[in-house]
Symmetry: C2
Subunit: 422 residues, 2 copies
């Protein structure tokens, strides 16, 4: 629709388009897209698509946008994925569009600046150092103390994130092709102290006028559950959980530090033996099955809230809490061509199953480099009590079968993936 | 020097280098420079120079800086000119360097965002509209009411700024080669209502921890004086002048609106029949002879303050007000090869002359496009009372002689210059 109440938007995205239901939302009028050539066919003929070599090329994105602004009003710039967050912030700042400007977008996507900003504001984070090439890691690690985590300053999905425990392990890694991705980075690298985590939380919030008008705190499946076969997922904390309030208090500190006054926030927080530490903040809805899980748990649609807050509108939250606990779990992938995979109908036989969404099927090729495809689907199921989760995940692991054969033309992957974090 | 107390800096600049005395300052250790190829020879062999096609290419500047950060500490990023202000802000934000980040740098150099930011904060500005190509100017002007001023969103020196009084004048301009520069812009254009100015002020301030620790308000020579032959210049307002306090109050509002908490600010303010209006803010010392004039008037060195605040140091202001009024005046230039120009010694015979600095000499070619060379020198002189200024400028106009011949190879100029504003 292009009526009076519709907003004209510019979408900046690469490997994942804005969810189709948002593109079809009655709030949205004309849609223009800046993307990379290989993703141009995500969009229909009614969408004006402009391509750039990389959506992280700020100059190219800025210049490509001029033609879109010349063609008509742009009410909001939307970026659904981690890639492009900084570029879309730059567009808003440069062209004077409402929403998250470059400074906040950068603080929510550039992990070094994020850590620096949080530490300066007194938010507890792991010790860290920036380095500008891989060879500087041992010096930084010696200052911080081994073991360390090394990651690119930009990126999602734990792609090219590596844990290193000693100078010797670093030497082996640096000489190995697993480090190709980190060596090729054209941005600084972040070296962080590796901390022992007692629990890992994520906090998903809708922020309006500087205040979280919705905030859910969830706990990721612990290492024991993940060892069942890579079933990464989470479930919301009970309201009475002692860490719930503390995590929301940290969220408020983080929002103030990065200047996020309106939008959707995804915060990672760890409990360590020394207390809670903030991991990372993202200014977008999370991936995996988290949005769907929170929708079933609370009746809150984070993508709708993302659209509304991007348009400068108050989010229409209609809380309808479920009586049970909604657990989300991704189905683990493996590189290669899929020869067999459990169909959704069979997975739906899991007791308490609420929703099964398969993103891969027989014949699909899973590229070791495409971190966004590191799951083959998402299962959401209900339990009455937290204690039931391990047993239910064990049942899921027994139901789920994935067979792959090496696919011709699939390389070893240019990067190294530590663990998928939504 | 490279001792413990020296700071390593990255200079981002194009047509004008950081003043040599700053490069030689004892605060400065290692100097790295990102500039454009034609300006690389401004620097000596001890300076690491990296070139990019344009210092306004944010991606190129960001990527070029990675090698500089990899080579060693960068304590501050310095940009002495209007060009590169946004890019240097981006570098600070992206690499986590202290000083003015992208959001503030953009609000202090992107004239549309500047106006939008000031208007949103309730600061009085002229009515304005952004347009994305020259052909949209008449529609914007019809909304605002003719006459209008059209300018690129980025730029200094009033280059490519044009006053248009009617649709007919626009048509003639758009069809003429004078509009080549505006038509070639790859950024939005700003259309503003042209307002009748009763007086034009500039306010130069040193800002530390959000507060102006020094602020001088000066008045530009009025149109009558400029009609003497283009002697652009200014003189400080007496402390008792009724507009002085009002301009400083506006400065405070502007600093808050753009988020400039530390640095050197140059603010343009106009008195109109409807009151004071803010023109533009820049986050750097002004050009022309203004820095030298203020140094003689108040004993304050804005470049030193620029360096100190860029390094995160409190500015060392040592106020030594002069007993007289220090007037600055630029010597007007004309395109062509200089065949005769009054020597400094002869200009120094002007009564009250304090300092004469010639930037051009016989044989030099003045390019119609090089707005930074639109003067041939600067004369500073003392008067006891404001009323003496017109007479003294008349004497200067009689002393100053400039003869040029058309220079082979000099074109008509790609742009259009309205009036030189420092």
């Amino acid at each position: 629709m292009t009526g009076r109440s519709a907003y004209d938007v510019l979408v900046v995205s690469s490997y994942k388009p804005l969810p189709a239901r948002l593109l079809a939302d009655e709030l949205i009028g004309r849609v223009s897209v800046i993307t990379e050539p290989q993703f141009a066919d995500f969009y229909g003929p009614e969408v004006r698509v402009t391509t750039v070599g990389s959506i992280d090329d700020l100059t190219a994105v800025r210049d490509a946008a001029l033609g879109i602004f010349a063609a008509g009003r742009v009410d909001a710039v939307l970026t659904p994925t981690e890639a492009g967050i900084a570029a879309s912030g730059l567009l808003r700042s440069h062209y004077g569009v409402q929403g998250i400007g470059y400074e906040t977008a950068n603080a929510c996507s550039n992990k070094y600046v994020m850590k620096r900003t949080l530490a300066a504001a007194g938010v507890p984070v792991t010790a860290f150092r920036p380095v500008y090439r891989l060879a500087e890691v041992p010096a930084a690690a010696a200052e911080l103390g081994w073991p360390v985590v090394v990651k690119p300053t930009f990126g999602g999905g734990a792609f090219n994130v590596v844990e290193l425990h000693s100078p010797g392990e670093f030497e082996a890694f640096a000489a190995d092709r697993r480090s190709t991705g980190l060596r090729a980075q054209r941005t600084p690298l972040l070296v962080e102290s590796l901390v022992e985590m007692v629990a890992e939380y994520h906090c998903d919030a809708v922020v309006h006028e500087g205040e979280p008008s919705f905030a859910a705190v969830s706990r990721y499946h612990g290492p024991v559950l993940r060892s069942l076969g890579g079933f990464i997922g989470s479930h919301p904390l009970a309201d009475a959980h002692p860490d719930r309030e503390a995590v929301v208090a940290l969220l408020r500190e983080v929002l103030t530090a990065v200047g996020l006054r309106s939008g959707v926030a995804h915060l990672e927080v760890f409990r360590t033996t020394a207390g809670l530490l903030v991991g990372e903040i993202a200014c977008r809805p999370p991936g995996g099955g988290l949005v769907e899980g929170l929708a079933l748990q609370y009746g809150v649609d984070l993508w709708q809230a993302f659209l509304e807050t991007s348009l400068g509108l108050p989010p229409t939250l209609r809380l309808r809490p479920a009586g049970h606990l909604v657990v989300n779990s991704m189905l683990p992938a493996r590189p290669g061509r899929i020869t067999a995979i459990t169909p959704a109908e069979k997975l739906a036989a899991l007791p308490g199953a609420l929703q099964v969404t398969m993103s891969r099927r027989v014949g699909d090729v899973i590229d070791p480099d495409l971190y966004s495809t590191s799951h083959t689907g998402v299962v959401l199921f209900a339990v009455e009590r937290e204690e039931e989760i391990p047993g239910r995940l064990r049942e899921l692991a027994q139901l789920y079968q994935l067979d792959v054969t090496p696919s011709p033309g699939l390389g070893e992957g240019r990067g190294h993936q530590l663990r998928r974090v939504p």
